[in-house]
C-alpha cells in the first residue's frame, strides 16, 4: 500500500534520521534502554515536538491533519491504554452494546461483512473469543491488553505500522501469534512496519533490515 520515508527526523537525543521503508517492508530498530527508540516512534506519530518531515508515499505529514496521519501511520505503544468501559467501545466500526449487540452485529454483518469478520479473525488468531469485545477493560491482564491493543490498532486500517516492543510481555505462544498476525497484515496490506524490539532472537527469526541506535545515531546493525 504505502512506503514510509523519514526525512531528517530529530528529537532531543537523536541525530537526524533519514530512513526509507518500502511498502510492505519490515525494519527492526533496537538499542539500549533510554537510547530514544520509543521517542523515535513517537516523533513519527507526531506525539512530541521535534524537527523533520515524514512522508507516506508521496504525501508529507505536514499537509495532513494530525488525526488522519495518526490513523494512517499507526503506533502501538509499549504500554497500552484504554479509555472506555468495555473493549468493544474502543472499536468505532463495531459498536457493540449489551443485549442489542447480537442484533446490531447481525445488521453490521450484512453491511460490512469483511470488516467485522476480519476483526473476529484477528481476535481468534490471538487466542480470543469474539465475546472479548463485551469484556470490561479492567478484567484484562497486561498481556491481554497488549494483544487487544494490536487488534484495536489494525482495526484502524493503518497503512504503515510503528510497533514499540509489541511482544515484550508475552509468553512464547502469544508472541508467535502476534508475530504471525503482524506478518500477515504486512503482506496482505503491503504495509511498511517499523518495529522496535530488544529481542535479538526475534530479529533473527523474522529477518530483514535491522538498525541499532548507538550514541544517539541510527546505524545499521552488524
Amino acid at each position: 500500500m504505502a512506503g514510509l520515508r523519514l526525512d531528517g527526523l530529530t528529537h532531543r537525543t537523536l541525530a537526524p534520521v533519514d530512513l526509507v521503508l518500502d511498502a510492505g517492508e519490515r525494519v527492526f530498530v533496537s538499542g539500549p534502554s533510554g537510547s530514544g527508540k520509543s521517542l523515535l516512534l513517537r516523533a513519527i506519530a507526531d506525539l512530541d515536538p521535534h524537527q523533520g518531515e515524514v512522508w507516506l508515499d508521496t504525501e508529507p505529514r505536514s499537509r495532513m491533519a494530525p488525526p488522519v496521519w495518526r490513523r494512517r501511520v499507526g503506533l502501538l505503544p509499549a504500554e497500552s491504554f484504554w479509555w472506555a468501559e468495555t473493549v468493544g467501545e474502543h472499536f468505532p466500526a463495531i459498536q457493540t452494546s449489551g443485549t442489542l449487540s447480537a442484533e446490531k452485529m447481525g445488521a453490521f454483518h450484512s453491511d460490512h461483512p469483511t470488516h467485522r469478520d476480519q476483526i473476529n479473525g484477528w481476535l481468534t488468531g490471538l487466542g480470543f473469543e469474539p465475546d472479548v469485545l463485551d469484556w470490561s477493560v479492567t478484567r484484562l491482564s497486561t498481556g491481554e491488553r497488549q494483544r487487544l491493543a494490536l487488534v484495536r490498532l489494525l482495526a484502524q486500517r493503518p497503512e504503515a505500522l510503528l510497533l514499540d516492543e509489541a511482544t515484550a510481555n508475552l509468553d512464547p505462544v502469544n508472541r508467535d501469534r502476534v508475530e504471525t498476525l503482524v506478518e500477515t497484515y504486512r503482506r496482505e496490506q503491503d504495509a511498511a512496519v517499523l518495529w522496535v524490539s530488544h529481542d535479538p532472537e526475534q530479529r533473527r527469526r523474522l529477518g530483514g533490515r535491522a538498525f541499532v541506535i548507538c550514541n544517539g545515531r541510527l546505524e545499521p546493525e552488524t
Binding site: A45, L47, D48, P49, A65, P67, R70, E79, S80, W83
Partner: protein, 276 residues
C-alpha cells in the same frame, strides 16, 4: 436615625463602636491562646489573618466611602481592575499544576473578566436598572460577590483539568493515536472539570436558607432591610453567581484544554509547571 427614612422598616442599624469590635476581637485572641496551649501551631497565622482582615476591610471601607462620594467612572474602573488582578493571582495560587508563562495568570484572569464583568453589567443595566449604571454602591458589591464566587469555580475547574490531564496522559494519547482529534481526546476530562467547578454553587443554591442564611442576606437584615427584600436580593445574587461561575468555568476550561494541545494536536504537558 434619619427622619426622612421610609417608615416601614421599624428596625434600624445599631452602629458598632470601636469598643464593640475590640470585644469581638478578644474572642480571636482567646482562640490564639487556645491554639498556643493546645500546640496547634496556628496562633501566629490566626493573629496575622485577623490583623490583615481588620486592615483590609477598614481600607476598603475608606476607599468605598471615597468612591461613593465621587461616582467617578475611572476610579471605579481602577477599583474593579485591582479586584480582578488579585482574583487572578488567587486562582493561579490554587493550581497544583499551572500553565507556564503568562498563561498561568491569563487564563484565570480572562475567564473571570469575561464572566464576572459581563454578568455584573447585565444585572446593573437590565435587571436592577441602576442610574447611572456604574453607581458604585451597586457595582462594587455586586462585582465583588461575583468575582469571589467565580474565582473559586474557575480555580477548582482549572485545577481539575490540569491535574487530570497530567494523570491521564496515556489515555489521552491513546485516543489521539486512535485518530481522534484533541477535543474528543480530552472530552471526558473537560466534562469532569466543568462539573467540579459548578458543584459548589449548585450545592449553595440547593441548601440556601435551610442550613444557613447567606452572608449578603444576613447583612441586609442586620442593616434593617425587610427580610423579603433581603431574600429577593439574595436570590438575584445567587442566580447571577450561578451564571457567572458557569460561564467563567466554561471559558477557563475551554482555554485551558486548548492550551494543553499545540497546532499539531499533541498533548503538551510540558506547558504545565508544578507549583512550588
Amino acid at each position: 436615625m434619619d427622619a426622612n427614612a421610609p417608615a416601614s422598616p421599624s428596625i434600624s442599624l445599631i452602629e458598632l463602636s470601636p469598643w464593640d469590635l475590640s470585644l469581638a476581637s478578644l474572642l480571636v485572641l482567646l482562640l490564639a491562646v487556645l491554639s498556643w496551649r493546645l500546640r496547634l501551631g496556628v496562633e501566629r497565622r490566626v493573629l496575622i489573618a485577623a490583623a490583615r482582615s481588620a486592615v483590609q476591610l477598614s481600607l476598603v471601607g475608606l476607599v468605598l466611602k471615597l468612591l461613593f462620594a465621587q461616582t467617578s467612572l475611572p476610579l471605579i474602573g481602577l477599583m474593579a481592575l485591582v479586584m480582578l488582578s488579585v482574583a487572578g493571582f488567587e486562582v493561579m495560587q490554587r493550581q497544583t499544576r499551572r500553565f507556564g508563562g503568562p498563561w498561568g495568570y491569563g487564563i484565570g484572569a480572562v475567564s473571570m473578566f469575561l464572566s464576572s464583568f459581563s454578568v455584573t453589567l447585565l444585572a446593573l443595566t437590565v435587571v436592577i436598572g441602576v442610574e447611572p449604571w456604574y453607581q458604585p454602591q451597586y457595582l462594587i458589591p455586586l462585582l465583588g460577590m461575583l468575582l469571589g464566587n467565580t474565582m473559586s469555580g474557575v480555580a477548582i475547574a482549572l485545577d481539575n483539568l490540569t491535574r487530570h490531564a497530567w494523570e491521564s496522559r496515556g489515555r489521552i494519547e491513546a485516543r489521539l493515536l486512535a485518530g481522534q482529534d484533541w477535543e474528543q481526546a480530552i472530552e471526558h476530562i473537560r466534562r469532569e472539570a466543568l462539573r467540579s467547578g459548578l458543584i459548589p454553587i449548585i450545592n449553595a443554591m440547593g441548601t440556601a436558607g435551610l442550613v444557613s442564611l447567606p452572608g449578603m442576606m444576613t447583612g441586609q437584615i442586620l442593616a434593617g432591610s425587610p427580610p423579603m427584600d433581603a431574600a429577593k436580593y439574595q436570590l438575584l445574587i445567587m442566580f447571577l453567581i450561578a451564571a457567572g461561575t458557569g460561564l467563567g468555568a466554561m471559558v477557563a476550561v475551554w482555554m485551558g484544554s486548548r492550551r494543553l494541545f499545540d497546532e499539531r494536536q499533541r498533548l503538551r504537558l510540558d506547558r504545565l509547571t508544578q507549583a512550588g
